[in-house]
Assembly symmetry: D2
Homo-oligomer: 372 residues x 4
Amino acid sequence: MVGGGQGALIGGVHRIAARMDGRFDLVAGAFSSQAERNRATARELGVDEARCYANYQALLNGEAEHEEGAEVVAIVTPNHLHFPAALACLEAGMHVVCEKPMTLSVDEAQRLAEAVRASGKRFVLMHNYVGYPLVQHARELVARGDLGCIRSVQVEYVQEWLSEAPGPDNRQAAWRLNPARAGAAGCLGDIGVHAFHLAQFISGQRVSEVSAELFSAVTGRELDDNVHALLRFADGARGMLWASQTAPGFENALSIRVVGEKASLRWAQESPNELFFAPLDGPAQRLTRRDDRLGADIARGIRIPGGHPEGYLEAFANLYQAMSDGLDGDIVSPWLPGVEDGVDGMRFIAATLASSRAAGAWTPLQTTEGEP
Amino acid sequence: MVGGGQGALIGGVHRIAARMDGRFDLVAGAFSSQAERNRATARELGVDEARCYANYQALLNGEAEHEEGAEVVAIVTPNHLHFPAALACLEAGMHVVCEKPMTLSVDEAQRLAEAVRASGKRFVLMHNYVGYPLVQHARELVARGDLGCIRSVQVEYVQEWLSEAPGPDNRQAAWRLNPARAGAAGCLGDIGVHAFHLAQFISGQRVSEVSAELFSAVTGRELDDNVHALLRFADGARGMLWASQTAPGFENALSIRVVGEKASLRWAQESPNELFFAPLDGPAQRLTRRDDRLGADIARGIRIPGGHPEGYLEAFANLYQAMSDGLDGDIVSPWLPGVEDGVDGMRFIAATLASSRAAGAWTPLQTTEGEP
Amino acid sequence: MVGGGQGALIGGVHRIAARMDGRFDLVAGAFSSQAERNRATARELGVDEARCYANYQALLNGEAEHEEGAEVVAIVTPNHLHFPAALACLEAGMHVVCEKPMTLSVDEAQRLAEAVRASGKRFVLMHNYVGYPLVQHARELVARGDLGCIRSVQVEYVQEWLSEAPGPDNRQAAWRLNPARAGAAGCLGDIGVHAFHLAQFISGQRVSEVSAELFSAVTGRELDDNVHALLRFADGARGMLWASQTAPGFENALSIRVVGEKASLRWAQESPNELFFAPLDGPAQRLTRRDDRLGADIARGIRIPGGHPEGYLEAFANLYQAMSDGLDGDIVSPWLPGVEDGVDGMRFIAATLASSRAAGAWTPLQTTEGEP
Amino acid sequence: MVGGGQGALIGGVHRIAARMDGRFDLVAGAFSSQAERNRATARELGVDEARCYANYQALLNGEAEHEEGAEVVAIVTPNHLHFPAALACLEAGMHVVCEKPMTLSVDEAQRLAEAVRASGKRFVLMHNYVGYPLVQHARELVARGDLGCIRSVQVEYVQEWLSEAPGPDNRQAAWRLNPARAGAAGCLGDIGVHAFHLAQFISGQRVSEVSAELFSAVTGRELDDNVHALLRFADGARGMLWASQTAPGFENALSIRVVGEKASLRWAQESPNELFFAPLDGPAQRLTRRDDRLGADIARGIRIPGGHPEGYLEAFANLYQAMSDGLDGDIVSPWLPGVEDGVDGMRFIAATLASSRAAGAWTPLQTTEGEP
């Protein structure tokens, strides 16, 4: 693990998720650039002192020497380190699990994509919300045509935790509000990109253009803390995307509604064990994780029967489980987010920033020659 | 009553609402331009044949002659007749209740506003959703500062009933999809303007600019059936507005969320007897119509105790009740929508149409000299 | 109208409900035994002074003399007057709308049933909650076998308004807590009997035995304010019934769940425009008032489309509408509660009181010879 | 681990829960009485073949010999083995985690309680639902007087999975419906006892008497699959308890409502991250896991912030975490269910069976001399 020192949130989540199915052991780490914090974290986690490294380069060197060196690296640092660390890991022959936003720019993202292809290694991007079984089922409903042609996608990701200027001890807020470490996008890069990914994931369509307004609700903040955006999809659907980190009363309110010609669906992360499907010609349905109604590929990620709530950690663990399935055998999980999703995400961020600077002008997401 | 012949929806709603508190009697009407339908409607409603008129001009002439002629006219026709009928009624000395959208253009709206001022008569615009007690309470929460400075307003009005091309017998759909009778705005004028009004009403802020995309989801439709819009408010808040009449599973889903620096609120028309208030510094609250917790002005519109659901008809009736309060005595209901709300609505429609034609360019709502 | 003077709740509800569809006019009344309150009520309601009577006997005499005397009497007094007033009205040739509980005893109830049969007049018992279209639809789902054999019925009616000893000015509480005016049953007679009726109505089964515990949560109260009961139905189902008027946070929480071998359903009065149907072999469904999915008989009681909430007053008005249908023509509404429902209700009250006194012993509901 | 062979449900849950916080390793097991299944389970779980034992006695012997023998045994067998296995483990000096119902009789339960006291070892009874942070918070709300004196407790645990006669391959159903392995109580012992425990846990009151009706909804079933019961608590509250395993549409619907003189609360296991608190003198509140609003003792069991749903596995893991806290250090978790809760549960089962056989007679829960 690179990052995830004491006081960080997401590192601990990765550790629980990786451990949940007993398929990964944490054997080494570069948890913090602060030496004392680094060592203390290793001690707390039971990581051998010899395998607690000062930084990711030292980790790669050290593990290369080790008889049973680590095979997978989880990168859970602030944003600006994702790219160099991931690149180095791939070049060292490691599989990589990486937090989002994947890089600080489209260019970095494309270079990383090339590196993944060249390496032959697995690269999993932690768009963890698609690990929820019912999100995967929603995608399947769209894919098999139950909604008909998609008309409108309404997606939002709304939080309250940055409603006020954070206190000086809030380590998570500190780097997220600092352009040098978070990149040019604030709320947009932190959670807007999750909403974007979810919208593409379920709708099965790619966003082609965006018209956006970014703004900061809290005075003195350098980065956006709110995103209001209109979307156009390549296959004709339109959408709206709202992201905010300054909305009192919203804890972690990621939700999506997809409207098709024959039916609509909606799902909300805070109540993840139900999915609503509302056809034009019949009553609305509440779908749950009852095992026998979901596809076999989805059911592998269900550990307990319907009515026994699964949550954020289980969904998160499903990405580790699916990665492990891919490493150990030949089970491919087509839903597992990878480096191309990261390229898309960085293109979305870039286009949204550009549109907002251009007074909301419709701005195309960059495409590579030959891409659809 | 002008309009509201057999087969119409909203005419019957007006009649029930006007009757609910026993303060209005239906005494005369020009219900339909088709003579037979007109007479049949009068018979069904128990309106004297002599007071069933061929059109609104005949009605105004006839009632002027009548000993106890009508005092209030409800205009419930297709959109294109709202303006001429209302103007004629005012000039004939009638009080007017008028359906929305008030007119077909900003110019007509401004002329009607002048006519109202000149007449000294009451003019109520049927933005009926503000008749719900908890909508009025939401407005009061904002006005008294419980939310702090407003940051974002998310409003939507979504229906399914035009999801498919309507059959030939659907009288309501026929005129709403015909530019000659509905005006230049389809979904935008029919329901988008309700959402706009609600957003201004609760937030206490006026929309100053809009960036919009209108589109038709159903092939061959001349008017928009979907509205995606970003909003800017004069006092600094931003907003998003979604309106659609082609969304399966959404029956009459008008809802609003207002985000302030200290708290958020949300209300949904399909569950109108609860209002959610979520402060940053405490648990979310579910507010209801328990009489003793609402202001006296609001409580006048509550007929039964909390827990006994009130609905659409009661809210609608509250506009008639408040109008009657104003006619009979000197009780002023500051929330009652009037001709200035109609001017605002037409400005919103005009700016939204213009923005959509201009590829979503931010477009100011027209203001009159001297207005803020 | 008999009863319903100023300060009463239910009288006003009857008046709005009767007026809603324009089929009834209030022409006469004996609103209060206090002369001044009686006259003031008449004035407020626009009832001719000459037809404002000192009591129901005077009303019957007076109206008998009148050229266009009243045809229907609504009895909305405290409980102890229901029986004598209803009996007198029937004997005077009036149709009767009567509040529940119908009488103070099973014996009175049976005598009233005989009087109804002898009179040939209509008698409607105001179990108003079955006026909700979705309650009628729930009954139909059971009747047509969609739930299969019924296993369990869970019904409850819970309020908070008597959580504390009421103040001296609370006229409604005063008589309800007084055995001389309310009868031997407190909460049981006031709302428990509604729950009982709803359980029989939807399940299509009759309660045959009850095992109950009545208690008073507020010290010093002579009548029960809480009912805990187990039920047995004649056709084999079991049930549980909870009624309380001392439960903070519950406004008017009547709800029911019916469990069958193939599916369950649930409905709650505070959210009356949705009915949940959950089959064993498919996802749970949310049913609404979308007109085209309910039977024609039910749809007559729907005034506005799905998504436009209807509430307590509309449901209440449906009993008046159905009564009127029966008076004016030959439309029979089989769901309309009548005197036999009142007999059943009184039997339930009597058996529940007896069971509670006998330490919860299973106590059969009295039956008449020849009854099933 | 004793029990939990392939095809079992709860064994896997224990394993994930024990692993979640990295404090327990699975080192040995007697997973199944079928040798092949036993070995296959060990292989799948990575348990050393030498520590895969034929039965619990062999396990205790083997581990006693082992240098680093197991310290804690989780007993996850069918019910009839809980008692002998737990007794043997305690006598062998093991700490024990045991599934419910704890034993087959009150007598066994009392003997086990004595064994626990004599052993000085930890004994955790897997009433896992009290591991939810908001259940613990509910208990605290009651304990600190926010509800005032408790009036009524409504608890239910309803499932659908035994709605029909199960197929021959359903291993879980097979033993649960067999009196020789499940004991005399079916649904009552399987889930009714969870509801009972939750009612006592949150209300802080002990059930003193029960009046019950047990029945089987599915023909030919030897054990009850439904429980309808009225409760009396020692401190004066009353309650109702409904448990069913034959209710279509109910997946794992454990829920509770506690009514006090000042406020009510409600919580439902299928939506475990919200707790509703409704005071008489203010709006209803929705409480969540926002860390800073729960007590420090509760917050230890929260792994991720509010809005990131936690579920069944995390709650389950909290019992393991709390047990570990008690083993490693001196952190006492007063909410952790132990052997005395098991004695109470068996007394409840015995009294309920007796009451049902005695036509619902109020039946006291057995007490030991000197107990309150």
